[in-house]
Symmetry: C3
Subunit: 138 residues, 3 copies
């Protein structure tokens, strides 16, 4: 059994869902592994990971609106030193995923037809987000 780890950097420019499906799949296919397990781990607590529909972009906008309404910037938070968008960002991260693990079989990631992998950015300002990719298998 083999394993490989690499970090994927994603530039974000404001809140929203940034698709990383293609670079993730490309990286998996470059490795000498046909069957195994892919783990994605985002090294931040104000951005997160989610698997969502990759068809209608309205789904992503509605998702973003939902999370903004449930954890609004004008809420009352103790933690405010890093700006009004920081505490809501931590809440949105807690409500979604820091890590995703996906089976990789016969050289294909086990995503459904309409599933895409996204970095969910919750901060207002431009960020560089690191997602650790770990593939283990044969």
């Amino acid at each position: 059994m083999n394993q490989i780890t690499q970090t994927l950097s994603t530039e974000t420019n404001g809140p929203g869902l940034y698709e990383i499906t293609r670079p993730v799949i490309s990286w998996c296919k470059e490795q000498a592994i046909q069957d195994g397990l892919l783990t994605l781990f985002i090294q931040h607590t104000s951005a997160s990971l989610t698997i969502q529909e990759n068809a209608d972009p309205d789904v992503r906008h509605d998702l973003q609106d939902f999370f903004s309404s449930i954890a609004p910037q004008n809420g009352t938070y103790r933690h405010s030193a890093e700006g009004p968008d920081d505490m809501p960002a931590h809440i949105k991260s807690a409500l979604t995923q820091t890590q995703l693990t996906i089976p990789f079989t016969l050289g294909r990631l086990a995503l459904g037809t309409w599933q895409g992998i996204y970095v969910f950015e919750h901060r207002l300002q431009r960020q560089n987000r690191r997602v650790v990719m770990h593939l283990m298998g044969d």
Copy 2:
């Protein structure tokens, strides 16, 4: 180290939690693996996975009510072409899990006494949901 992948199909008939603990455990026990890691991955974005109490069925009904109140069908969504239950389904999926990974030790899945594994259906109409099961170990 060995690994096996198989898809579990689950018929659902309206919103709610459908337990899959037994077929998952049965499948694990059929494999020539005693110790390893089980990953469950649902190939949909309008149904999800969750581990919840398997004792009082009221817990599942209360959970369903909670998620319906937080992401109501009569909310205002851009994405409406697939019916009023579709965007709430995506939100509920984002708030729960697409994937679960569970240690498998000495032929036993590491579930606690009161834990059951559920497909959480968020759509109104009858569906056939696919959960990819991946077991890796010795």
Copy 3:
């Protein structure tokens, strides 16, 4: 490839986030594994796992407040036999994680600088929570 499983017990005393980063890292370093995958699995449905900022403690208090406001104890629930804090605890668990998987590379867990691993206790009374740690690798 090797694998090791052990249970980490955590005493909790009321709702809140209890950091387990240090004992988890210590345990990983004691094993004869340099590269692999760590899986944490909490065997309960009224406490959960989350990765959050480990710097400003206000973040943890704001998180706790958020989850208490979204799933209040004075809500209307069918399931009430185990006390007014039990059903909210199940909801908060469903909204966060039962399981976390983290790459372990060159003897280091792939946590970001500001990330800590927490048991998120949702019950009022003193509890003893079990987290199964599973490390697989070389």
